[in-house]
Assembly symmetry: C3
Homo-oligomer: 353 residues x 3
């Protein structure tokens, strides 16, 4: 897009050369062809050195960049609010949302018993098995597997290469990203020794399902296991990031966030409005109270009743307790010095007597 | 299913309304349409408040729930063993195991050189390349990729969207869940500087394979890399959870468990009967003795000879040693108080003299 | 392959029985049919006990294994450099690299607008959407999804079941392993309360792309999110292992390594030549200076300016500082003993006076 076209869209005034622009980028990261922005005079030096082909600046900004004066292939677009203008520009540069017209791709293998709502898109090489139900306006992208008896709510978007094992229920207006695995068997085995002393390991049948509430988003390659009995439940508006693991019979009440690579072991309950930060791990069969935040890499072995609003470390504790452990060597050095001093004074006292 | 039908199956006696039942759920989680159960009088209050439409209770239980007395749409089924009856009921409510009839789906792309055993099922859009061998009764579900020369043992179940890179060997009666990646290249690079000072990073060819023993189960989206030379080996009856990473040339002897999101770096050996808990990490080129348990989030930098049966923390240590670190601030505060007291007494002594 | 054939290839001399060989393996791991090697007299005992059918030994090695003397089905191949000979043998035993002849598999769904270079291979059930560009000699394996407007550089290899969401750019000579997810939406939500007190959680549109530089390798099931605006950027020659998570707007300058299950949160910059070890976590909006190594399971909450070349622990610190914390209980015990001694001496002093 020409800088002048963009200036017109943004209601801004262009100075300099009418360059071609292809993308947005921060002042430091930008390359030729990029539009960048600056709203704060303290970053003026970066406006001088950026490789961007154009920069959005506030109207009030006095000194023009020297490149502009030099006649380089560079433009300045002056706008009221560079931040907001950049967001608008980003929408113009964004890859267009792929069209997903209603209809079932002829290559898809859809069982005749499947109920498909109005306006549903089913992509190439997707498999939908017996008795599944796909709600109105849902998009089931390419190469997806929807097992027997699954139900997908209206308006839900399933990206390519997702698998929904049999019986999985997904609510309305959900977004399921590539590679998500819903309804895999939970990890459950009985083991012990037979009368003859030999070891056995037996699979415990995983007879339940996964149920996802309305408005849930699930990030790429996340895995959520089916319940042993009943349901693994992800409540409404929960937002799950990439590579998260949710064990069997976990219950996430709703309106919570689980950040990348975190994990929740079997039968644990996460309250409303919780935030589980990246790489945190939560043990099985415990309860996390509403609104609690579990810090990055924290390990939670026991229930949290909400008396601590934020925990960190492993085993999880308050920020203050973790800081005390980190400071232990400094405290020890101090005590050591005091003891040395006491001993010296005692030795001196003994000499004097 | 009608509560009365279920009662007949369970050999139980029904009281109250003959409600329709669709699923199982704990007393607290249950919803209308659910069957719940209680065997312990101390949870009697939950029987009063549960939203379940029916509850399994022991025959001896005297007081019926008040909802029963009130004539609500609610049933009690009295049985000898509510626990066991609930398991039986759960099997009735479970999504039916999808039928996988013998035969190769017409859409599958199977090389003519592939040897397919008796009773094998191959699902839609599955690719099986040259010289692969699929054992009797194996199920290779939809959208699976089986590379050149792979061997899949009899009775093994491969769920949708698994990839087996060339040469991978899977034993008999294994279960491979959705999104598992077997035989990816191990992480191996040579790097350094050329005589002219420029940096190079060269891929080390990964020439070996992955070999999975009999009776192994591998969870969703787990990755196991091919050996640099020889085999990455997962011994018989090993049970691996979701999102686990196994590096090249790792050897897991057998009868071990690796819980979700744990990782084992290259060339490490895990003994028989080990249990690696969630999110634990084990360094490369070390040995974990038979029967050792590595706790959740533990980091093991060195071999474990079995003198500690359970390790935790990073670097991994005994429970006792980790507790001592966690308690350090408390111990320090105590010593500080003692030193303060000593100083006070010394000052007093000096005054007196 | 016959041991004699292999000896001829390796320029070695065979002694003993001309056994059949199928694979390579270490002396301890090897099985019948395996070739092993030993170059160091201190491992001579293992040469006696190995189950391998043949062993590569240095020419100078005097004592032949007793199995050789006993006439067992066993061979010794004497070579100048057993290490190197083993590498050569491993190449002979390696599963053959699957042939990927130029051409588009008839089952692939490729939009007519897609530009496909010379010598490109596109596998079965692969989907390539509108306006994508595939460079000369690239291999796009089976069951891959390439979204609208994606660009894949010349010579790049994409293994089965990878997804590239719309707009993703991959450089030349990259290797993308099975199950990699490029261009998923970053994790970004606005939340708060409406005037009526109800909670809202709104998705922030993720308008940018993922751009992968030349010579990058990405391990199985790794996920890299699209930028909120602009690009998530993985610079040239970066080597990423399995199950790694890279957040939106991350910039990895290049020539760096990210080991398995590590994670980098949004908008963070990783310098040139960094090494992020397994399961490490790096917070968002920080910078890691060129050449810094982040140890396994480390958690980095703040920028690292390069004054520490290696950090470990959580929060990340120097090796020395982590060791001091680990040693705290020992130090405390020592101080406790000293205080006890001081008190005893004071009590004695008081008695004497």
């Amino acid at each position: 897009m020409k800088a002048s076209e963009l200036a017109a869209i943004l209601g801004g005034d262009i100075e300099g050369v009418d360059v071609d622009l292809f993308a947005c980028g921060g002042l430091e990261e930008a390359r030729p062809g990029d539009l960048s922005f600056c709203k704060d005079a303290k970053h003026a030096a970066l406006v001088e050195t950026t490789r961007a082909s154009a920069v959005l600046l506030p109207r009030g900004w006095k000194v023009p960049p020297s490149r502009l004066r030099a006649g380089a292939p560079f433009a300045v677009i002056r706008v009221d609010d560079p931040d907001r203008a950049c967001m608008t520009a980003a929408e113009k540069f964004a890859p267009p949302e792929p069209e997903r017209a209603p209809g079932v791709h002829p290559s898809a293998v859809v069982d005749p018993s499947v109920k498909i709502g109005r306006g549903v898109h089913v992509g190439p090489f997707t498999v939908i098995e017996k008795n599944a139900v796909i709600g109105d306006g849902a998009v089931v992208d390419a190469q997806v597997f929807v097992g027997e008896g699954c139900r997908v709510g209206a308006g839900t978007r399933i990206y390519p290469q997702v698998t929904l094992r049999e019986g999985t229920v997904v609510g309305r207006d959900c977004i399921i990203h590539c590679g998500v695995r819903l309804g895999g068997d939970g990890y459950g085995f009985n083991n012990g020794r037979r009368p003859d002393g030999s070891v056995f390991i037996e699979k415990i049948p995983q007879l339940g399902i996964v149920e996802i509430g309305d408005g849930v988003e699930i990030g790429s390659n996340t895995t959520i296991d089916r319940a042993r009995i009943g349901r693994t439940y992800i409540g409404p508006m929960t937002k799950i990031d990439n590579l998260v693991q949710i064990g069997h019979n976990v219950k996430v009440k709703g309106y919570s966030g689980l950040i990348a690579q975190s994990g929740v072991a079997g039968s644990t309950e996460i309250g409303y409005g919780c935030l589980i930060w990246a790489q945190a791990g939560i043990s099985g069969h415990i309860k996390i109270a509403d609104g609690v935040q579990v810090g990055p890499q924290a390990g939670v072995p026991q229930s949290l009743d909400g008396s601590m609003k934020y925990v960190i470390g492993a085993p999880a504790m308050s920020m203050r307790d973790l800081a005390a452990i980190t400071l232990a060597p400094k405290m020890i050095a101090k005590l050591k010095a005091e003891i040395k001093e006491i001993k010296a004074r005692m030795a001196e006292g003994a000499r004097k007597r």
